[in-house]
C-alpha cells in the first residue's frame, strides 16, 4: 500500500515538473532570439597581470582585492626570495552599473591611495563591432609624510597624480585575447632623481591572454613608454602571469619587473628588468566577488 502511494506521488510530481518545463519551452519559442549577442569578456580577471583588462564588475557587484609584490627575487635566501620586503595593495571595487565601476585601493608604495573609475564605451559583438573599448582613469594621492624641513616648498596638490587610459581588447577565440592600452600620465610631483622622468608621459600597453586549460591561462603584458627621458633609470614594465580560477575568485600569480602596483608607478617608475641582472618581483592578485 505504502509503495503504491509513494509511486503515485512521484508520478504526480513528475507530471507537474514536466508541465512547467513545457511552459518554459513555450516561452522560449515565443521570444524572438536576439540577433547580436555581446561576446563574453576577453579577460577572465579585472587585470591582465598588473594593467587593467576590459572586464567590468557586474551591476551591484562588490570586489574585495588583495595584491602583493614580494621583494627582489634575485636576492635569494637573504630576504627569503622577497618575503621580507613585500608591497601590499588592498582595496575594493563596486559595480555601480554594468558599464561603470568605481574603485579605491591603498598601496604600500608611497603610501598611495588610488581612486579609479572604469567605464565601458563599446562592446565587442559576435559578427558585429570588433573590439571592446573601456575608459579607465586613476587618481593617486601620495600619503607620504612631507617634512617641512626637507620639503619647504611642498604644496598639497603635489600629492596628486593622474592616469587616463583607453583599454581596447579583442577576443579572437575562446582561448586567445589581446588588448592595447594607450595611456596618458600626469604627475604633480616627479623626478625624485634629477632628469629621470617628465611630468607628462605617454605609454602604450600591450596585453594578451592564452588559455592553457579550463581553469588556467597564461597572461603576458608589456608597456612601452613613448617619451622617456634619455637616462636609463626607469624601464618599460614586462609582466608574465597565470590566472587560476577557483570557485569564488580568480587568483593571479605574476612575475613582474615592477614592484609597485599602482598604474601610474607601474607604467612610469619600473626599476626592475628581465635582462642584465635586473630585479624581478613575484606576487599575486586575489579578487573575491560579493
Amino acid at each position: 500500500m505504502n509503495i503504491t502511494k509513494f509511486l503515485f506521488s512521484a508520478l504526480l510530481l513528475f507530471t507537474v515538473t514536466l508541465v512547467s518545463a513545457q511552459d518554459d519551452l513555450m516561452k522560449e519559442l515565443d521570444s524572438v532570439p536576439n540577433a547580436k549577442q555581446p561576446s563574453s569578456s576577453a579577460f577572465k580577471a579585472l587585470q591582465v597581470c598588473n594593467m587593467q583588462s576590459t572586464k567590468m564588475a557586474s551591476k551591484n557587484e562588490w570586489y574585495f582585492l588583495v595584491s602583493h609584490r614580494f621583494g627582489d627575487l634575485k636576492e635569494g635566501i637573504n630576504n627569503f626570495f622577497g618575503l621580507d620586503n613585500a608591497l601590499t595593495r588592498i582595496g575594493g571595487i563596486y559595480g555601480a552599473t554594468g558599464w561603470l565601476s568605481l574603485g579605491v585601493s591603498r598601496h604600500t608604495y608611497n603610501k598611495t591611495f588610488e581612486l579609479s573609475v572604469k567605464y565601458r564605451v563599446a562592446n565587442q559583438y559576435e559578427n558585429g563591432f570588433p573590439v571592446t573599448i573601456v575608459g579607465y582613469n586613476t587618481m593617486d594621492i601620495n600619503g607620504s609624510k612631507f617634512d617641512k624641513v626637507l620639503y619647504p616648498e611642498f604644496k598639497l596638490t603635489n600629492r596628486l597624480a593622474f592616469s587616463s587610459q583607453l583599454l581596447i581588447s579583442r577576443r579572437f577565440s575562446d582561448a586567445i585575447s589581446f588588448e592595447i592600452n594607450p595611456v596618458y600620465i600626469h604627475k604633480n610631483l616627479y623626478d625624485i632623481q634629477p632628469d629621470t622622468e617628465s611630468k607628462d608621459l605617454f605609454v602604450v600597453g600591450l596585453g594578451g591572454r592564452c588559455k592553457l586549460s579550463k581553469r588556467i591561462s597564461l597572461n603576458l603584458e608589456y608597456a612601452a613608454r613613448m617619451n622617456p627621458k634619455e637616462q636609463e633609470y626607469y624601464h618599460n614594465p614586462l609582466t608574465v602571469g597565470f590566472d587560476i580560477e577557483t570557485g569564488g575568485h580568480v587568483f593571479q600569480m605574476v612575475f613582474s619587473s615592477s614592484q609597485p602596483m599602482n598604474d601610474i608607478s607601474y607604467f612610469s617608475n619600473t626599476t626592475g628588468k628581465w635582462d642584465g641582472g635586473g630585479s624581478i618581483y613575484f606576487g599575486f592578485n586575489m579578487y573575491r566577488a560579493f
Binding site: 626637507l150 593622474f162 616627479y190 623626478d191 632623481q193
Partner: protein, 113 residues
C-alpha cells in the same frame, strides 16, 4: 547614459589640467652647511629609522641619534648611493638633494648643531 559619461570625462579632464607640477628638487630645501639636528635627523627619521631602530626590523644597526649616524656614516653614504653597495632604503633611492646634503655633512665633519 551618454551624458553622464561625458560629464565624467570632462570632470577628469579639468582635474588633470588644473594642477601644476613640481620636481622633487624644486620643493626640497638645500643648505650649504647642513647640521645633524636641522637637516640630517629629519632625513634619518623619514627614510631609515622605521627599520634601523631598537624596535625596528634592523636593531643591529640603529640610526636613532647623532653618534650612531656618525658611526655608520661611511656605510650610509655608500648605501644611499647604491652604486657600489646594495641600495637603501629598499623602497627606492631617496631624492638626490638629500643624498647630496648627507655627503656634504660628512665632508664638513659631522656638524651637530
Amino acid at each position: 547614459m551618454k551624458t553622464i559619461k561625458l560629464i565624467i570625462l570632462a570632470a577628469i579632464g579639468t582635474f588633470v589640467t588644473s594642477c601644476d607640477s613640481n620636481t622633487y628638487s624644486e620643493i626640497s630645501g638645500f643648505t650649504a652647511m647642513p647640521t645633524y639636528e636641522a637637516n640630517i635627523k629629519p632625513i634619518m627619521v623619514a627614510q631609515c629609522t622605521s627599520c634601523h631602530s631598537a624596535n625596528g626590523t634592523e636593531p643591529g644597526s640603529p640610526l636613532e641619534n647623532y653618534q650612531e649616524v656618525v658611526d655608520y656614516a661611511e656605510s650610509i653614504s655608500c648605501r644611499i648611493d647604491g652604486q657600489d653597495c646594495g641600495l637603501m632604503p629598499s623602497s627606492g633611492r631617496i631624492p638626490q638633494v638629500q643624498i647630496d646634503m648627507f655627503n656634504l655633512w660628512v665632508a664638513q665633519g659631522f656638524l651637530q648643531q
